[in-house]
Amino acid sequence: MMVQPMPRHVKPFKLKHVGSTLVLMALLALVLYPFLWMVISSLKAEPDIVTYPPQFFAPGYTLVQYQRVFSAIPLWMYLRNTAIFAFGTTLFSVLFDSMAGYAFARIRFKGRKALFNLVLITMMIPFQITMIPLFIQIFKMGLLNTFAGLILPRMTSAFGIFMMRSYFVSLPRDLEEAARIDGLNEIGIFFRIMLPLCKAAMLALGIFLLMGNWNDLIYPLMLTTTTEMRTLPSGLAMFVGERVTQYGPSIAGSVISLLPLLILYFFAQRYFIAGIAMTGMKD
């Protein structure tokens, strides 16, 4: 490196960042404001929510809105359904995507190129074009309003296969050869040698899929018709849509539905960000 040492004028260097810091602070405020408003309002009594002029804070706080929303809609059930649907889908998809990604990346077999092109084409198909036939299929299979019906179509994702393939391609060559000489069969090679090497990629993909399914609205809305099978987004959307707006319970319900992923984000932030960053990678 032939870069000259920077002369020591610290002040102008810092001044340069004042503008960008201020802009960032304004953006932070814009992002955080709705969340603060939501949490504080969810702890207000109804008169303090509808008071005029509107106030950000209230004279006193209460948990009554949470009680109200839990008695108005089966929120625990929604939470359970969302968890079963989102985690079930994610676990299967990560496993199957890794298996397929591994084969496409590291094994030569007949039809590999054609089948992988098919995966790439599938990646470009928007969900809305498959929505109505998918509904008919699930209905005819008798799987409407079941977890099987919700999970089955999403047990693999073309993006996941694509992503895992890119990861497996990047692993050093000849990893498998040594294992083959040691007498491990192909299934053993995949589960004992390959999977442990791609834990981070699988986690990032898993978080990405979990986030998508946990938050999905139109898909569970379409494949479930009974209250007992609603997920958090579809149940909440029906709740705010059907009756006269109940301000307090709507806000408390939103807090409950956002909390699980936000807690997960707090602890596993880098996997959330890695998952999104991976969507932008070119092969």
Binding site: V23, L24, L27, L28, V31, P34, F35, W37, M38, V50, P53, F96, M99, Y102, A103, I107, F109, K110, V119, T122, M124, I125, P126, F127, Q128, I129, M131, I132, P133, I136, Q137, L152, P153, M155, A158, E186, I187, N215, L217, I218, L232, P233, S234, A237, V240, G241, Y247, I251, S254, L258, L262, Y265, Q269, F272, I273, I276, A277, T279, G280, M281
Partner: protein, 296 residues
């Protein structure tokens, strides 16, 4: 049997089997059936099903709600995509330094991406609610009159756009930040030695080298914005006066509420699909040409 476990070329089929079956049954078959269903008169009760040829397509051309919803989708796209990508790019540059504050900012600005559009739409529509919302109160104090935002036919769509940008710019930020961080720092060192200003560095180095990533963001956001549904379904249900009814919202309404016209809705979905394909392929080609010009 042993062959399947020991011969790589055979085991490969075991590895891809589950994924291929699922993709075939639940994506590829539906795509084809969607086109086929579009030629049928088919409702949710599967009674009186009949082949009607191009009748559904003739009908949709004459359906004012089809034109309206496609127009609204186009409006949404034309506002949302440029705003989102520009803001995402701007913020990505702002947070490409490394300091504790910038790192904190990155984490916070990404929070909306994690949240469900359903909850986000509920919260923003309450903040903008004419009865309890703080913002309508302030617009009145500022002498702008009592804005009803989502209930105002002229403001509803811009608000839906705002909400979508607010929710999604963090995603663009992360993708473009990854691109910025992979640019070789020697370019900037050389520029600094030459005395290039930050703006020059951005337009001469960052932007050209980031073009593939920007293209990716534009195209994926474009495809996404053609499918906008959640925020409309939750915040306005397509109102007021159908001003926010988007293509997918209309398809969903046609298919899943009375009289449940699955065939007609499929025809509309097929048209939307063709438009999305043409748009993304055209844009892809346009960006490829631009990239060639940069690297030539």
């Amino acid at each position: 049997m042993r062959d399947w476990l020991n011969k790589p070329a055979k085991a490969a089929y075991l590895f891809i089997f589950p994924s291929m079956v699922i993709l075939l049954v639940f994506t590829l078959v539906p795509v084809v059936s969607s086109v086929v269903i579009g030629f049928f008169n088919l409702n949710m009760f599967f009674k009186d099903t009949s082949f009607v040829g191009l009748q559904n397509y003739a009908k949709l051309l004459a359906d004012r709600r089809v034109w309206n919803s496609f127009g609204n989708t186009l409006m949404f796209m034309l506002m949302e995509v440029p705003l989102q990508v520009t803001l995402g790019l701007f913020v990505a540059v702002l947070v490409s330094r490394a300091s504790w504050f910038v790192r904190l900012a990155r984490s916070v600005l990404f929070i909306p991406v994690v949240c469900s559009l359903t909850s986000i739409s509920i919260i923003w529509s309450l903040i903008l609610d004419p009865t309890i919302g703080i913002i309508p109160y302030y617009t009145q104090l500022l002498g702008l009159g009592k804005c009803t935002f989502l209930k105002d036919p002229n403001l509803a769509m811009p608000i839906i756009v705002f909400l979508s940008v607010w929710k999604n710019f963090g995603q663009t930020m992360v993708i473009l930040l990854a691109g910025i961080q992979s640019i070789n720092p020697t370019y900037y060192e050389a520029a600094m030695v030459e005395g290039a200003k930050p703006a020059q560095q951005f337009f001469r180095i960052t932007l050209p080298l980031l073009l593939p990533n920007v293209a990716f963001c534009v195209i994926t956001n474009l495809i996404g914005s053609m499918q906008v549904f959640d925020q409309v379904y939750v915040a306005t249900r397509g109102g007021p006066m159908f001003r926010t009814e988007t293509a997918v919202m209309y398809i969903y309404t046609r298919a899943f509420s009375a009289p449940f016209q699955l065939g007609y809705a499929s025809a509309i979905a097929t048209v939307l699909f063709v438009i999305i394909m043409i748009l993304s392929l055209t844009l892809n080609r346009w960006f490829l040409k631009r990239e060639e010009a940069v690297y030539a």
